[in-house]
C-alpha cells in the first residue's frame, strides 16, 4: 500500500506539477501589481501549450517548443494589453475574450495540423531534468523557482518595481511623478503573458507530452486564486502552487492504487481553493486601483 517511499516520490514530483501554476501566478502578480487583472491567463496557458506542441512536433526541438510557447504568451499578452491598457477596455471582458477564443482557435488548429479534434500526436522532444531522491526534477521547474525569486527582487527591490507598483496603487500620482503608467502596465501584461506561456509549454511538453483540447483545465483560474492567496507576492505564491502540485501528484499516484480517478482529479482544485480561502492573509490589500483603466 502507500508507503513512505511513495510519499517521498510524490513530494518530489509535486515540484514538476506545480510549475505551470507557479509561472502563471508570478506573471499575474506582476500584471496585477501594475493595476491590470488578466483573467485571460487560462486561455494563454492553453494557446501557448498548443504553440509549444506544434513547434516541437514540426522542428523536433523541445527548446524551440518552449520558446514558441513563451512567445505566443507574450503576443497574446500584448494583444490583451492593447485593448485593456491603451484602449481602456473592460479588463474582465478582454480576458474573457482571450479565454473563449483560445479554446476555439486551438481546436481549429488541432484539426488543421493533425486532422483530429481531440488531441495531437505525442511529441518525443524531451526537456532536460536531473534526478533527486526518488524522482526527478525538470530544469524548467527549478528555473520557475528562480523566476519567483527574481520577480520578488524586481517588484520590491528595484526602482522599476516601485514604479510598477505605483501604477497599481495610484496611477494618477505615479503619472504626476513622471512614471509612464501605460507603458509600465503594457510591459507588465506582456511579461505576465510570456510567463504564462512558459507555463503552458511546460504543461504540454513535460507533463502531458502532447496537446489535448481544453488541457489547461482551469489551472489559470487556480493561479488567479493563488495570486490573492500569496498577497500579491511571488514568494508565498510558491507555497500555494506547491499545495496544488502536491495534490495533483498525489492524485496521479494514488489513482493507480485506489481508483476513483475522476474524484481524485478534483482534489487539487478543491484543496487549493480551500487553502487559499482559509489561509489567505486578510490584512493584505490588493493594489488599490486594480482593474481600473488609466
Amino acid at each position: 500500500m502507500v508507503e513512505a517511499e511513495l510519499w517521498a516520490f510524490i513530494a518530489v514530483s509535486s515540484v514538476a506539477y506545480m510549475t505551470p501554476i507557479l509561472l502563471v501566478t508570478i506573471g499575474e502578480i506582476i500584471a496585477e501589481r501594475s493595476g491590470v487583472v488578466n483573467i485571460g491567463v487560462e486561455g494563454i496557458l492553453l494557446a501557448s501549450a498548443f504553440a509549444a506542441v506544434a513547434a516541437a512536433f514540426f522542428s523536433g526541438s523541445a527548446a524551440l517548443g518552449v520558446a514558441s510557447g513563451a512567445l505566443a504568451g507574450a503576443l497574446i499578452g500584448a494583444l490583451f494589453g492593447l485593448f485593456a491598457v491603451y484602449l481602456r477596455a473592460d479588463q474582465i471582458i478582454a480576458g474573457l475574450a482571450i479565454n473563449l477564443s483560445s479554446y476555439g482557435f486551438t481546436v481549429l488548429g488541432l484539426i488543421a495540423l493533425w486532422g483530429h479534434h481531440g488531441a495531437s500526436p505525442r511529441v518525443e522532444a524531451e526537456l532536460p531534468y536531473f534526478s533527486l531522491g526518488q524522482g526527478s526534477v525538470p530544469l524548467l521547474s527549478l528555473l520557475a523557482l528562480l523566476i519567483a525569486a527574481v520577480a520578488w527582487l524586481l517588484l520590491f527591490r528595484t526602482r522599476a518595481g516601485l514604479a510598477l507598483r505605483a501604477c497599481g496603487e495610484e496611477p494618477s500620482a505615479a503619472y504626476a511623478m513622471g512614471v509612464n503608467v501605460r507603458l509600465y502596465r503594457m510591459a507588465a501584461v506582456v511579461l505576465g503573458g510570456a510567463l504564462a506561456g512558459l507555463g503552458g509549454s511546460f504543461l504540454a511538453l513535460e507533463l502531458a507530452g502532447s496537446f489535448t483540447r481544453g488541457m489547461s483545465a482551469g489551472m489559470g483560474f487556480i493561479a488567479l486564486a493563488n495570486v490573492a492567496f500569496s498577497g500579491w507576492n511571488p514568494l508565498p505564491a510558491i507555497l500555494g502552487a506547491y499545495v496544488f502540485g502536491f495534490l495533483s501528484a498525489a492524485a496521479d499516484a494514488l489513482q493507480q492504487e485506489v481508483g476513483y480517478a475522476y474524484l481524485l482529479k478534483t482534489l487539487p482544485y478543491l484543496g487549493t481553493l480551500a487553502a487559499a480561502a482559509l489561509l489567505g492573509r486578510r490584512s493584505i490589500r490588493p493594489p488599490q486601483r486594480l482593474g481600473v483603466p488609466f
Partner: protein, 497 residues
C-alpha cells in the same frame, strides 16, 4: 529679458465638453512669487496642469525662457525644472514618503534611495520642513503630506514651483511657516506660482497677481499697490461681505454630550485622550487646534465611523459610542466629513449623491423614485451654486469646490438635530464660503446644535458661540465666543496653559 514662463492664449476644452480656459495668458518672471487668483472653477488648476505637462492645451502656446515648448508629460516639465504641488496631493498613499520621493526624483535623474534619504533629511532640517520619511503617506495628516510634496519639488531642484491652494489644509501657524519658506526659497532664486482664492494671502506672499475669471485673465497687478477690495472685484465682479458672528437667539437643551472620550487612529496611536464637552440646541461650538490634535477622531466617533476606546457619546440622551453610523443618523446627526471622498461617492452621479443616505425619502416601494430624486438634486445645485454639466455626470467630474458645495449642501439642507461640520468651507472661494457660513448660522438660529471643526481659525472665531481648543487629544481651554481672540486661542493651540 524674456520671462521665465509665458503662456499665451491657452484654451482648454475637456473631453466632456467643459470649456475650462478660453484664451488665458500668464507670465512668470524669474525670482518672483506670482499669485494666480480666481474663484472656484475659474480654471486655475487647469492652467497650471497644462504648464506642468499633465494636461495638453486645446490650443495656445507656452514659452520657457523664451523658447517654445510643449510638454507631453510631467516628466518633461520636471526635467526643465518645473514642479507642482497639487491641491489634492499627488502621492501614492500606500507608499512611504521616502518611496514617493525616490520615485519622483529617479524618474528625472539617476539617484539611489539612500542618496534621496540623506538629501531629504538634510534639506528638511535646513528649511524646517521635517517629514517622517518612513511613514506611509496615507497615515499622515494633510499638512505633513504637503510638506512631503514641497520637499519633493526641492529635491528635484525645481526652478519653478507651482503651489495649488497650498494653505487650504493648513493651520494658521503652518500657513505662516509655509509663507516664510517661500520667501527663503525665493531668495535662493526659486520662482513660485501661488494659486489661491484667498485675498489675504495674495498681499502677504505675492509680488504680482494675475486674476483669472471664467477661464480668462482679467488683470495683472502689483500685489503691493492693489487692495483686497480691488482684487475681489476683479475676481467676482462684485464686492463681498464677511459674515459677522451674532449671538444665538435661544439656547435649548443639551443635544450632544461627550464624556471622557478616548480614541485611537489607524496606526493605534491614541489621538483623543479623554475629551468632555456638550453642545446645546441653538448654539455653535467650535473646535480649534493644530491639525492632528484629535479632530478627525472626534468627528468620526460621533458620526459612528470610529469605535472609541472609552468614554460616552450621548445624542439626545441616547448612548451611541461604538454604535454603527445608522444609529447616529437615526437620531438626527448630520455629518460633513473632512474628506470629500468620504462624503461623496465620486463614481456616482450628482442625483445619486444628492440622495445618499436619504434614499428612504425617495423610494416607491423597492424602487428609487428618480423623479423626486432629480428634483432634490436640482434644488440642491441651485441653492448651493454647484456648477456642473449634467445632473447625471459623475461627481468625480466636478471641480473640488463644486464637490464640496454638493456635499455640504446635501447635509445642510437635511433635517436633523445635530450638525457635525468638519472643514465645511475647505477649498471654497470667498463667496461660497460665506454662503456656507451663513447657512450654518441659519440652521443654528432654527435650533440646531452645531459642532464646527475647522483649521480656519478666522472661521471658528467668527461663527462659534463657544470655542474649545484641542491640544494633543485633550481639551486645553474653553472660551466664550466674545472672549476668544486669535492670540488667546493661538496660544492654547500651541499647548501653552
Amino acid at each position: 529679458m524674456a520671462p521665465l514662463v509665458f503662456m499665451k492664449e491657452i484654451r482648454k476644452v475637456y473631453p466632456e465638453g467643459t470649456v475650462a480656459l478660453r484664451g488665458a495668458s500668464f507670465e512668470l518672471l524669474e525670482g518672483e512669487v506670482h499669485a494666480l487668483l480666481g474663484e472656484n472653477g475659474a480654471g486655475k488648476t487647469t492652467l497650471m496642469k497644462i504648464l506642468y505637462g499633465e494636461l495638453r492645451p486645446t490650443s495656445g502656446e507656452i514659452y520657457f525662457r523664451g523658447e517654445r515648448v510643449s510638454f507631453r508629460s510631467p516628466q518633461e516639465a520636471m526635467r526643465r525644472g518645473i514642479a507642482m504641488v497639487h491641491q489634492s496631493f499627488a502621492l501614492v498613499p500606500t507608499f512611504t514618503v521616502l518611496e514617493n520621493l525616490y520615485l519622483a526624483i529617479s524618474s528625472v535623474r539617476k539617484v539611489s534611495q539612500g542618496e534621496v534619504r540623506s538629501r531629504a533629511a538634510e534639506l528638511g532640517k535646513e528649511l524646517g520642513i521635517e517629514v517622517p520619511l518612513n511613514a506611509r503617506v496615507e497615515q499622515l495628516p494633510a499638512g505633513m503630506r504637503q510638506r512631503a510634496e514641497i520637499l519633493k519639488a526641492l529635491l528635484l531642484e525645481a526652478k519653478v514651483i507651482i503651489l495649488d491652494e497650498p494653505t487650504s489644509l493648513l493651520t494658521p501657524f503652518e500657513a505662516e511657516a509655509l509663507i516664510a519658506l517661500i520667501r527663503r526659497l525665493r531668495a535662493k532664486g526659486v520662482s513660485f506660482v501661488y494659486v489661491t482664492h484667498k485675498l489675504r494671502e495674495v498681499k502677504e506672499v505675492a509680488d504680482r497677481v494675475t486674476v483669472l475669471r471664467k477661464g480668462l485673465n482679467v488683470g495683472t497687478l502689483q500685489a503691493r499697490e492693489t487692495s483686497e477690495a480691488e482684487m475681489a472685484k476683479l475676481m467676482v465682479g462684485a464686492a463681498v461681505e464677511r459674515a459677522k458672528r451674532r449671538p444665538p437667539r435661544e439656547v435649548g437643551e443639551v443635544v450632544l454630550e461627550v464624556e471622557g472620550l478616548v480614541a485611537r487612529d489607524e496606526m493605534g496611536v491614541e489621538r483623543l485622550r479623554g475629551v468632555s464637552f456638550s453642545v446645546r440646541a441653538g448654539e455653535i461650538v467650535g473646535i480649534a487646534g493644530v491639525q492632528g490634535s484629535g479632530q478627525r477622531e472626534l468627528a468620526e466617533a460621533i458620526a459612528g465611523l470610529r469605535r472609541p476606546e472609552r468614554g460616552s457619546i450621548r445624542v439626545r440622551g441616547v448612548e451611541i459610542a461604538g454604535k454603527p453610523p445608522r444609529e447616529a443618523r437615526r437620531l438626527g446627526v448630520l455629518y460633513v466629513p473632512e474628506l470629500r471622498e468620504e462624503g461623496l461617492a465620486l463614481e456616482m452621479n450628482i442625483v445619486e449623491n444628492s440622495i445618499l443616505a436619504r434614499q428612504r425619502g425617495h423610494a416607491r416601494g423597492p424602487l428609487v423614485d428618480w423623479g423626486s430624486a432629480e428634483e432634490r438634486a436640482r434644488g440642491l445645485v441651485e441653492r448651493f451654486k454647484v456648477v456642473f454639466g449634467s445632473l447625471w455626470d459623475r461627481a468625480a467630474a466636478l471641480s473640488g469646490g463644486n464637490q464640496q458645495r454638493l456635499m455640504v449642501g446635501r447635509e445642510l439642507s437635511s433635517r436633523g438635530a445635530l450638525l457635525i461640520a468638519h472643514e465645511p468651507t475647505q477649498g471654497l472661494d470667498v463667496t461660497s464660503a460665506e454662503m456656507v457660513r451663513e447657512e450654518i448660522l441659519r440652521l443654528r438660529d432654527e435650533g440646531m446644535a452645531v459642532l464646527l471643526i475647522s483649521s480656519d481659525l478666522d472661521e471658528v472665531l467668527e461663527l462659534s458661540d463657544r470655542v474649545i481648543v484641542l491640544f494633543e487629544g485633550r481639551s486645553v481651554g474653553e472660551l466664550r465666543g466674545e472672549e476668544a481672540s486669535i492670540e488667546k486661542v493661538g496660544r492654547l493651540m500651541g499647548g501653552a496653559a
